[in-house]
Symmetry: C2
Subunit: 345 residues, 2 copies
DNA sequence: TTGTAAGCGTTATCAT
DNA sequence: ATGATAACGCTTACAA
């Protein structure tokens, strides 16, 4: 048969794992010296340190973080919660986070909330068992009970993406409203007067973008409720096509559509191609986030470039400052956005 | 100033954290009873258990996994390594993995290798410190030294995506060659005779697909080296367009292109639109993976649907079996693929 | 520069 | 059903 069941952990007494003590005995020093040899090489005589290093390699030593966390009261774990991994925006944010965390020896504990404050709280609760040194949350739309939970254990938190102005709250992101205004203004500047907004997911960022859109059109005296289409479904290219069709039914004279993200916008673009609607001739289309592929579509998609990679890095930086008790210059960092006008408008 | 530096961990003696002992004292039992009340509720008198539960809630108890791992020699950590998060394929695989792991109380430690065996080894090394109960690797293209590293600590491993036939190795995936053959056969069946292959990243899966393509064409007596374009760059929609252009320069009479993944294929499609090349009239285009958006492009993209979500689930299932010493029916599980013929061919 | 002692919070083991 | 005790592997604090 083919069953050789690998017994995960076994071996008689002890765990069988090579420990600092094992090395210490072999080298003829105490275990604390071995520990120091790894953590503060300068505090150990060169000759001893080299011997320790060699023996450790020979024996295949791997440190045990559980023991280390327990003894030092520093887990070196950072909890990072994002709404989804299916949206490249968050993936790129994580990328930035990790670029900062890993070199400093921190481990990222990743959680996906599926845009649900309930799941977010459940994840926070579960991850608190890892004794995290800090927490990175996406957005500010968390439950009061989640906040209390975190407050209880006194762990620093930084919010990514959205900005706050509350004292004692830390955030790195950009103004979703302002970004949406920029896109709406752009469409107005292109001479569009019957501008629609299509949004899905309806998380706090989408709602903020919708506000930016609405405020701008109201100021221009061009706001019409029937040009707004908001659905709770999760975003996808396919959904973009469906929503475009639905919108054109309820407001056929629309001359521009601002999609709340590029996935939807691309779907809208494809649907136009399919329907023979000329873009931007008959209809201008704008997206949000400026996904890499958005520059490649035909026509290329106008979008708003958001600095998610930087948001990840700066959030992590700020969090580390808080953890170390270093002063942070500003509690709220606005990284801004950049409009990317292309052929679709 | 605005600096209230949050001291991460503080409070006088002890760590300040609520422990099993704290609860035990309050309830008037021993700490082991409290521990049991959580882990094996049936082993504790109802009345006592309820009291413990209540007090724990009141005090805001959160268990400490470091201590638990240390004492129980079971970390409940599973290391999962994927090449990239920018490729939806792996994200969906992770989704499947997590769907299985989380309900069982396991924590996924995610690592991104960037398609590099070196980075993979570094990650394995780093994650071994977490004393993982199991490891999930993407592909089988790992270094010999990585294998030894893992063997040393005797942790079960399951490989995702690619299949092996080696004894003592566990894998869940599908035959990349067979899948590529299916696409190539399809193009042949559509009457194409000058079929090109465009690949990037050049990881072992891309190479396997290329073999499937090549073997099929050789068998048909239609293989021509100049119709192969392989570059090490990472895949993207933008790259697809560039490579299509390059290929058509070196082999202008090509009548079909098999892209090694959908990202590239979509880029190719867009480029055709831009150049006015009719698809599938002049040129048929096939992709791989069947990304959700591939059904929406114009024309819709023919692709090969791969069962990555299931691969994630089944891999995790198999790993848990190995961890628990349960017999696994088969060491290698082939989940197969499905050709999705659409308008682009 | 090196070592001793104690403890981090939990669980396995063996008793009661 | 509950408890006493001893680890688990490491680090802090203090001493030498």
């Amino acid at each position: 048969m083919n069953e050789k069941p690998i017994k995960a952990k076994a071996r008689a007494s002890s765990t069988g794992r090579v420990t600092l003590d094992d090395i210490a005995r072999r080298v003829g020093v105490s275990s604390i010296t071995v520990s120091r040899a790894f953590r503060r090489p300068d505090k150990v005589a060169d000759e001893v340190r080299e011997r320790i290093q060699r023996v450790a390699d020979e024996m295949g030593y791997v440190s045990n973080r559980a023991a280390s966390s327990l003894a030092s009261a520093r887990s070196m774990n950072i909890v990072v919660l994002v709404p989804s991994l299916r949206n490249m925006v968050f993936v790129e944010t994580l990328d930035g986070v990790e670029k900062v965390l890993r070199p400093k020896g921190y481990q990222m504990l990743l959680g996906v909330t599926n845009y649900s404050p309930e799941e977010e709280e459940a994840l926070v609760r579960a991850y608190l068992a890892f004794d995290p040194d800090g927490i990175l949350l996406t957005g500010m739309n968390y439950r009061e009970s989640t906040r209390r939970l975190i407050e209880q254990v006194r762990v620093p938190v930084v919010h990514m993406m959205e900005l706050s102005d509350r004292e004692g709250v830390y955030s790195v992101g950009f103004s979703q409203e302002a970004a949406a205004e920029a896109m709406t203004e752009h469409l107005l500047a292109q001479g569009r007067r019957r501008i629609a907004f299509i949004g899905s997911q309806l998380d706090s960022r989408t709602l903020a973008r919708n506000r930016g859109y609405r405020d701008t059109l109201m100021r221009a005296g061009l706001y019409e409720p029937r040009r707004e289409l908001m659905v709770p479904d999760s975003s996808s290219v396919a959904l973009g096509g469906i929503l475009l069709e639905r919108l054109l039914q309820q407001a056929p004279d629309t001359d521009a559509i601002f999609f709340c993200n590029d996935d939807l916008a691309q779907g809208g673009l494809f649907e136009c191609l399919r329907k023979g609607i000329s873009v931007p001739g008959q209809l201008a289309i704008g997206g949000f986030n400026d996904l890499p592929s958005s520059a490649c579509t035909v026509p290329a998609l106008t979008s708003v470039a958001t600095p998610r990679f930087d948001i990840g890095m700066r959030s992590a930086d700020m969090l580390l400052s808080l953890i170390d008790g270093r002063p942070v210059a500003r509690q709220h960092i606005d990284l801004g956005v950049a409009l990317k006008p292309r052929q679709s408008t």
